[in-house]
Symmetry: C2
Subunit: 206 residues, 2 copies
């Protein structure tokens, strides 16, 4: 028997492993608090591979890490804000599950990229832009659903911004206070705002 196709790889390629490890490290310890060596140890990858795949060095790894984390969270947001969903309930559920998640990680993990973003906002324009784009992509997901539900474009944007700011602020407070209640608190407030906006929209579709 001749094996004509190679067996599936036992593990992801080094580049993927590096990014996954980088995200785990940087979300908790920040950009400057994460060393290249720690990433490589976690990724089981060599120094040469990192600089081969990311010739821009640590900053390039950081920017890709932000993009990767941003895409993952956008997909999470999309899982709550599905087409046709009750947006008030979706919002409530989103915050309640965020609270449960933060608790389940013993208040270590919350937003995958906020810690990095806050840290590099003043020092790396490459990474700042990656974070800006990631956040914007989340806002767009929510905004699109609000508009589809009949809320006017301006109000949809405002709601999305309010929701984003609420969750990010609550993550910070939950992580420092070791209490997930602030996330639930702002979740109720935002869900109420969403429901009010929907009621004011008077959706003409059934």
């Amino acid at each position: 028997m001749i094996q004509t196709s190679p067996p599936p790889p036992k593990r992801p390629p080094a580049r993927e492993r590096i990014l996954a490890a980088s995200l785990e490290q940087m979300r908790r310890y920040g950009y400057a608090g994460t060393g290249i060596k720690a990433i490589l140890v976690a990724a089981a990858a060599p120094f040469g591979s990192l600089y081969h795949h990311f010739p821009g060095g640590k900053e390039e790894v950081g920017a890709e890490t932000i993009r990767r984390g941003g895409v993952a969270y956008r997909e999470l947001v999309e899982a709550f804000y599905v087409d046709g969903a009750d947006l008030g309930d979706a919002t409530q559920t989103f915050f309640d599950e965020a609270a449960a998640f933060v608790e389940s990680t013993a208040f270590v993990d919350a937003c995958p990229i906020a810690t990095i973003a806050g840290e590099i906002a003043a020092t790396s324009d490459t990474m700042r832009q990656a974070a800006d784009e990631a956040f914007e992509s989340w806002l767009r997901v929510m905004e699109r659903q609000f508009v589809a539900a009949g809320i006017d474009v301006g109000r949809a944007r405002e709601l999305s911004v309010e929701l984003f700011c609420a969750i990010e602020g609550a993550f910070l407070l939950a992580r420092t206070s070791h209490d997930a209640e602030p996330i639930r608190t702002v979740g109720r407030a935002v869900a109420r705002s969403v429901r009010e906006a929907l009621a004011g929209a008077r959706v003409p579709v059934g």
Copy 2:
């Protein structure tokens, strides 16, 4: 003429200078991204002084830095939320002036301790607790004024949490997007919530 009291010091003592420099450095570059040497250069202070005044080392400097930044911002919050102030207007003004401030620093500075707090939340319990206490002190300022205006204690707490989360989330978004509008957006939303809570409270005093 005998001078019986010493002349006022030309500059603050080293300990003060170190903390002031530390706050400036850490608020922008984060804890791990700020080196001891950079603090000392900015403070015009020697290595020996730092470890003399802060035998716990960098972590102790970080914790004191958080406390110092926390007190300064609490005083700023108190300047807006004065006794007897119209709390809806105070809230609106607070956010609008926060937006103007962030703009005036070219989106470099926002909250003095959020960047540090997010970074060390998972790695230093000493500093996490300092941040927790700082944030709690801000919440208390707002909560006290809401209660004094007749809002029930539970709702006052919620409002304070909503306000805190809104401003912190908006700071993050403003710094990454280089746009202060999100601060104004959430300011309008929170001011509206405050006004609604006040209207619902039906303050019996004139």
